[in-house]
Amino acid sequence: MIRRNTIPFGPQHPVLPEPIQLRLVMEDEKIIEALPAIGYIHRGLEKIAEKKDFIQDVYLAERICGICSFMHSQNYCQGIESLMNLTVPDRGRYLRTIWAEIHRVHSHLLALGLLADSFGFENLFMQLWRTREIILDIMEQTAGGRVMLGTCCIGGVRKDISSAQATVVLRQLDQVQKECDEILPALLNDYSVKQRTVGVGVLPRDKAHELGAVGPVARASGIGMDYREQGYAAYPDLGFKKVVETAGDCYARTLVRVKEIAESIRMARLALEKAPQGPIAVPFKGNPTGEVLARIEQPRGELNFYIKGNGTRNLERFRVRTPTFANLPPLLHMLTGCQLADVPVIALSIDPCISCTER
């Protein structure tokens, strides 16, 4: 009988952007069992949210994640708006969609770059991040921050995009599209990349459903689940089309992200062109009362906020369920039975965001 060894993968590991430990029980080079250990970066954000007033919590919610920050604040604002029966003006809805989709492109480019880095394709990693730099410039020009936009507020948005800025952004999005068309085929068609991703970390559709996978992980396994279909913000007006693949392996997850980049750029462009004139936010009075489960589609999957207000300025409860938390059980299933050398690729194919997961 082969002796079993346990290898700690993380919390500090060259391919892991954030601290999580995967304890890998090995038989030779094969993984028999994978156990996660989280808790390295817990910040107690849910408790802080109860101490701050509900308007200050918009900035706090934005800082749950350092990559998809805008969508956290958008989800929080949408939750509070539904508690206070506020209707966001049309221009506010469009601007939210523009920033959210630009954020999705930046997040997917980051994830694909890290994936390329995980199998040692440094050149591709650098080029993808070079393209991402244009997106960061767009965000800095329109919102003032390169990642923390701080533009979402309860009732709408705080900043407008002028027509002059919109022209520049459209030109920059053209550039992003051009660079993506050049570089992404290298990721999809390269022989070495396919050797490392095709058929690796397969998650069948029934297992994805059973283990509660969300986002690109679920969509790559054939589950057509995208909350943008339900039609929040300006998505109903933009003809959103979800991307679904069926193979369920690392390559399918990469393909979903690549196709989503194109779809997000298309929607951001359309929203910039179609955005109606008018107010960007609606004023409000009073405090939120009641409870709501706010949902939104993030780059990594569906994000849930449970918000409970009691009529005071402080929330009674603020609970965060991030997509990476839902994608951890599928990750453990994918790791079981795979080779040790494939662990970085599989772990990064779910695009883990541990800071969000631990709040």
Binding site: L60, L124, R130, Q141, G144, D190
Partner: protein
């Protein structure tokens, strides 16, 4: 393989994507939220900014009249700029130099 090779050839003919920092510095957009500043002559020391600040970075006292911001705690969100009744707070686009 050929797709990556063509990219590499294109990159050889392009100018560098990076700049020679610190000799050549990036020009910041006017919209960048660099750091918080105050035009102290206009300030009435009402304390609205201190009350609203999400990170308690601002400290205002009425007697003696002082206004101070802890730049390490400030997240440059601009909420104080919005609530200031005298419009004396402003966000400058350059980042503060390291002390």
């Amino acid at each position: 393989m050929a797709t990556m090779l063509s990219n590499i050839m294109k990159n050889l003919g392009r100018k560098a994507a990076t700049r020679l920092y610190p000799f050549e510095k990036r020009e910041l957009p006017t919209t960048t939220r660099g750091h918080l500043d105050i035009e102290i002559d206009k300030c009435i020391f009402c304390g609205a900014c201190q009350k609203r600040c999400p990170t308690n970075a601002i400290n205002v006292t009425r007697d003696p009249k002082t206004w101070a911001v802890n730049h390490y705690a400030c997240i440059v969100c601009g909420y104080c700029v919005e609530v200031c009744p005298k419009d004396c707070l402003l966000l400058r686009n350059e980042h503060l130099p390291q002390p």
